[in-house]
C-alpha cells in the first residue's frame, strides 16, 4: 500500500526549475542568497494569489481573463477609499466584495446564458479596465496611509507579508481541493459535467462559487499590489492574466479541466518568478526576457509530455 504518492507527471517542470536555479546560481552567486530568495517569493506573491483562483476556474474547464482588470479596479477603488479616510478594514472588505461580485456576474452569464467563459471574461476584462480608468479619470491615486503598506511591503520576521499571504492562499486552495466536497465537485465538473450532475452535484451553484471565489482572490491581489506600489494606478494588473494562466498551465493544470493540483501550480508560479528574477540579475534585456519566458513555457510543457509518454510505455 503506497501512502505517499509522488506525482511523477510533474517531473518535467520540477526538473526545468532545478536546472534554472543551477544555471542562475553558477552565473551569479548572489542568486541563492536568502534575501534574493525572498525577493523571488515576494515577486511571485501577487500572481501566486491569483493563480489559486485561476486553478479553480480552469479545473472546472473554464477560463477567466478578468484577473488583471479586477486587480486594476481593486487598486484604484481601494486607493480612493483609503485616501479619503475610509477605515482600512472597510475598504478591504468593499474591494473583496467587488471582486466576488465581478466573479458572480461572470458566473451568472456563463451559467444562465451559456456564454463561453473565455468570451464572457474577455468582456468583463475590458469593461472592468474601463471602470478602473473611469474611477480616477486616468490619474493615479495617492495618499494611502502608512499603516496600510504592511500588506505589500511589511515583514514578519524575515518573511515578507505578501509571501505569507500567498502561502495562506495556496494552503487554502489545497485544503478546498483536497478536503472539501466543493473541491471534489470542482474536479468532477471539469472531468465530466454530466456524470457529476447525475451524481447530485449542483453544477451551477459550484460554478458560481468558483468564479466568486476567484474574483475575491484577484481583488485581494489588487489590494496587495496597491500596498506595494503605494498608489492606485489605473493600469495596474494589465497583462497579469497571461502570467497567471502561464503559471497555472505550467503547473500541470489541464486546460480541458479536471486535472491538476495546487502543488503543481506552486512550482509553476515559482518557476516563472525565478526565471524573471534570474534574468534581471543577468542583465538580460526585457525584450529577451519575454522571448525566453515563452520558450520556457513551451519547453517545460513538452518535457512534461515526454516524461508522461515514456512513463506510459515503460514499466
Amino acid at each position: 500500500m503506497k501512502k505517499h504518492k509522488i506525482d511523477l507527471s510533474r517531473f518535467g517542470v520540477i526538473i526545468a526549475w532545478i536546472i534554472l536555479i543551477i544555471v542562475f546560481a553558477i552565473n551569479n552567486p548572489a542568486f541563492l542568497r536568502s534575501s534574493n530568495i525572498f525577493t523571488i517569493l515576494r515577486q511571485a506573491s501577487i500572481v501566486g494569489v491569483c493563480s489559486v483562483g485561476m486553478t479553480f476556474v480552469i479545473l472546472t474547464g473554464g477560463m477567466d481573463l478578468s484577473v488583471g482588470s479586477v486587480i486594476g479596479v481593486g487598486c484604484v477603488g481601494g486607493a480612493q477609499m483609503l485616501s479619503s479616510g475610509v477605515p482600512i478594514p472597510v475598504a478591504v472588505l468593499v474591494i473583496l466584495l467587488m471582486g466576488a461580485a465581478a466573479g458572480t456576474f461572470n458566473a451568472l452569464m456563463i451559467n444562465q446564458l451559456g456564454i463561453a467563459p473565455i468570451i464572457m471574461t474577455l468582456g468583463t476584462m475590458t469593461a472592468m479596465r474601463g471602470i478602473a480608468y473611469l474611477l480616477c479619470g486616468g490619474f493615479a491615486v495617492y495618499g494611502i496611509p502608512e499603516s496600510y503598506k504592511v500588506i505589500g511591503q511589511g515583514y514578519l520576521g524575515p518573511i515578507p507579508v505578501p509571501v505569507i499571504i500567498m502561502a495562506i492562499c495556496f494552503a487554502f486552495g489545497w485544503f478546498i481541493l483536497n478536503r472539501l466536497n466543493f473541491g471534489r465537485e470542482i474536479y468532477g465538473i471539469g472531468g465530466n459535467v454530466e456524470a457529476s450532475r447525475l451524481t447530485g452535484v449542483n453544477v451551477k451553484k459550484t460554478i458560481f462559487k468558483v468564479y466568486a471565489l476567484a474574483g475575491t482572490l484577484y481583488a485581494l491581489a489588487g489590494l496587495m499590489l496597491m500596498a506595494r506600489v503605494n498608489s492606485g494606478q489605473p493600469s495596474s494588473g494589465e497583462g497579469y492574466e497571461m502570467d497567471v494562466i502561464t503559471g497555472v498551465v505550467l503547473g500541470g493544470v489541464s486546460i480541458n479541466g479536471g486535472e491538476g493540483s495546487i502543488l503543481g501550480v506552486v512550482v509553476g508560479v515559482l518557476l516563472m518568478s525565478t526565471l524573471t528574477n534570474g534574468m534581471v540579475l543577468m542583465d538580460i534585456s526585457e525584450f529577451w526576457q519575454k522571448f525566453v519566458k515563452g520558450v520556457v513555457l513551451i519547453l517545460a510543457v513538452s518535457l512534461d509530455r515526454i516524461v508522461q509518454k515514456s512513463k506510459e510505455k515503460a514499466v
Binding site: 483536497n178 471534489r184 474536479y187 468532477g188 465530466n192 454530466e194 456524470a195 447525475l198 447530485g200 449542483n202
Partner: protein
C-alpha cells in the same frame, strides 16, 4: 481451413502495475467466427487494440496474411481490411448517422460530398439492419443501444476481411441481437473473419465456430464450440465453482413507496407505475421503448411535461438529480462513460462522489474513510485494479461498470434504479451483483431494474412492466413471465387488456 489470416506470437502488454496480456500466442482462421471469452480485465479488449494498432504491445509480434505487421496504426490496419467495433464508441456525436457511417469515404459528385446519395444509402443500410431511425439524426441524440447499432452499420458497410466486435451486443435487446446475428451470418458467407467478444455466453454458442479463453492476461485454450458447453466454458473462464445463477429469494410485497402517474415527456406517453418495498420491478422493452427515459424523468435528470410522482404517498416535484437524490432515489445510468464516471479521476473519488458526507470527519473529507469505502467495494465487487488510486479510465469496461455500481451502493438510496446494471460484466461478477440486489431488497429497498437481457430480467424481477414506444403495454406477474409474452408486448403487437395497470 487451417489457413490463419491473423496470428499473434508471444504478445505481452504491460501497464503500470498491470500485466494486461502475458505472452499470448493465438491464431484466427480465415472465414471463422472466433469468440474470445474471459472475465472482466482478462485482457480481451487489450488484445483487440493491439491487433488494430490502437495500443502498442510491449513485446511480441503480429502476422496478417503471413506478413509481420510493424508499427501499425488503426488507420493502416483499416486500409488492410481489419476493422473493429470497440467497446467504447468511436462515433462523432455532432455528426449525423449518415456522416458517421460514411466518414472518410463520403460519396462524391463533382468533387463535392453528395449529401442526397449519402442520406439515401445510409437510410437503406439502416433499414437493412432493421434499425428504425432516420440517417439524418445526430448521433448525440441517440441512446446507447442505437449508437451501438450505428457502430455496427458503420463497419459492416466497409470492405473488410477481419471484423472485430468487442461486446457489440451489450446494449442491445433480443430483437436487435437477432439483427446483429443476421449481419454476422451474412459477413461470414462473404468470407469475412470475425472476432467476437461477449459476456453473454449463449451468443457464443449460437454464432461462433471456435472460442478462446483468456484468464488474467493469459491465453488458456481454444476449443471448437461444438466440443464444449456453457458450463465447461464458465469453468475454464473463472477457474472456480460458480453456484446458482440467480439467488433464491422470497417475494413479500411490502408497502407502496413509489407511484408515477401519467408521466409525459417528448418520448413518454402517460406512463404510470407503482413500486413496492421488498420487490424488484423489471422494466422490459426494446431499444427506444422509453425505459431509460422513465428512469431519468423520475430521478430528475430530464424534465417532464406532465404527470405526478408520489413517494410514500406524498406528491413531489423533482427538478434535478440532486433533488432526486435527496428524495432517496438513486439512478445507476446505462452509459458508464458519459453518465456514470469521471474517467480522469481515481476510483476512490468516483466511488465516494455521490456520498461525500459519508467520508467526512468533522466536516472535512477524511482520506482514511475515503480509502476504506473504496477498498470495501473493490473487494466486494472484485474490481480488478492495482489500487483505489487507479484512474477510472484505466480500468477494463466491466470493471468500470462495477465502479458505477459501487458508487450507488455506497450512496445507499432508498429507491434504486438499475439501468442495465450488468452490461459488460462477466458471469462470476454478475452473480455477485444479483446477490447484492437481493440483499438490498431484503433490507427493504425498492429496486427497479431495466435490462435488455431477457433471462436476467426474468430471473431477477418479481414483477415486469413491458414498454413500447413510450407507453406501458402491460404488466406481468412472476407466474406469467415468459420470453414470448414479453416480446409480443415489447414489439407493440398486442396490448395487454387485463387492465391491472389502469391505475
Amino acid at each position: 481451413m487451417d489457413n490463419e489470416i491473423l496470428k499473434l506470437e508471444h504478445v505481452t502488454k504491460k501497464y503500470p502495475g498491470v500485466v494486461a496480456l502475458d505472452d499470448v500466442s493465438i491464431g484466427f482462421r480465415e472465414g471463422e467466427v472466433h469468440a474470445i471469452a474471459g472475465e472482466n480485465g482478462a485482457g480481451k479488449s487489450t488484445l483487440i487494440k493491439i491487433i488494430t494498432g490502437a495500443v502498442e504491445a510491449t513485446s511480441g509480434s503480429l502476422f496478417y496474411n503471413g506478413q509481420e505487421l510493424r508499427n501499425n496504426t488503426p488507420e493502416k490496419t483499416l486500409n488492410m481490411g481489419i476493422a473493429a467495433i470497440y467497446q467504447e464508441f468511436n462515433l462523432f456525436p455532432a455528426l449525423t448517422i449518415a456522416e458517421n457511417i460514411f466518414h472518410g469515404r463520403y460519396p462524391k459528385k463533382h468533387g463535392m460530398i453528395d449529401r442526397k446519395t449519402m442520406m439515401q444509402e445510409a437510410d437503406k443500410i439502416l433499414q437493412d439492419l432493421g434499425i428504425n431511425i432516420k440517417a439524418s439524426e445526430q448521433v448525440k441524440n441517440l441512446s446507447v443501444g442505437y449508437q451501438q447499432l450505428v457502430e455496427i452499420a458503420k463497419s459492416v458497410t466497409r470492405d473488410v476481411k477481419v471484423l472485430i466486435m468487442d461486446e457489440p451486443s451489450a446494449p442491445l435487446t433480443e430483437v436487435e441481437v437477432g439483427h446483429l446475428f443476421e449481419i454476422v451470418e451474412r459477413l461470414k458467407k462473404r468470407g469475412v473473419t470475425i472476432i467476437y467478444i461477449s459476456h453473454r455466453l449463449e451468443e457464443i454458442f449460437t454464432i461462433c465456430d471456435r472460442v478462446s479463453v483468456f484468464r488474467d492476461g493469459k491465453y488458456i485454450q481454444t476449443m471448437d464450440v461444438s466440443d464444449t458447453n456453457v458450463n465447461e466454458l464458465i469453468c475454464i473462464m473463472v477457474n472456480r465453482e460458480l453456484g446458482q445463477q440467480y439467488p433464491a429469494k422470497d417475494y413479500t410485497k411490502g408497502e407502496k413507496v413509489l407511484e408515477i402517474r401519467d408521466l409525459c415527456t417528448d418520448l413518454l406517453d402517460h406512463v404510470s407505475l407503482e413500486a413496492y418495498r421488498g420487490e424488484i420491478l423489471g422494466l422490459a422493452g426494446l431499444v427506444g421503448a422509453g425505459r431509460t427515459e422513465t428512469a431519468r424523468a423520475l430521478f430528475g435528470a430530464d424534465r417532464y411535461k406532465q404527470g405526478e410522482i408520489l413517494i410514500n404517498g406524498e406528491s413531489v416535484r423533482i427538478n434535478s438529480p440532486s433533488e432526486g437524490i435527496s428524495h432517496g432515489i438513486g439512478l445507476i445510468p446505462e452509459d458508464r462513460k458519459k453518465e456514470g464516471l469521471v474517467l480522469k479521476l481515481p476510483i476512490r473519488h468516483n466511488i465516494s462522489f455521490a456520498h461525500l458526507n459519508a467520508i467526512k470527519r468533522g466536516g472535512i473529507i477524511n482520506m482514511e474513510k475515503d480509502r476504506e469505502a473504496s477498498e470495501r467495494y473493490i473487494g466486494q465487487l472484485a474490481i480488478k485494479t492495482p489500487s483505489c488510486e487507479q484512474l477510472a479510465g484505466q480500468l477494463s469496461g466491466g470493471n468500470q461498470q462495477k465502479v458505477v455500481l459501487a458508487k450507488w451502493l455506497f450512496r445507499d438510496s432508498d429507491i434504486l434504479i438499475f439501468d442495465e446494471p450488468t452490461r459488460g460484466i462477466d458471469v462470476g461478477a454478475k452473480q455477485e451483483i444479483y446477490r447484492l440486489m437481493v440483499d438490498l431488497v431484503r433490507q427493504g429497498k425498492v429496486l427497479i431494474m431495466i435490462s435488455s437481457e431477457m433471462p436476467e430480467l426474468i430471473g431477477m424481477s418479481d414483477r415486469i412492466l413491458v414498454m413500447h414506444n413510450g407507453k406501458v403495454m402491460g404488466e406481468l406477474q412472476k407466474e406469467e413471465f415468459s420470453q414470448e409474452r414479453i416480446l409480443t408486448l415489447a414489439s407493440g403487437i398486442e396490448e395487454d387488456y387485463s387492465g391491472e395497470n389502469a391505475g
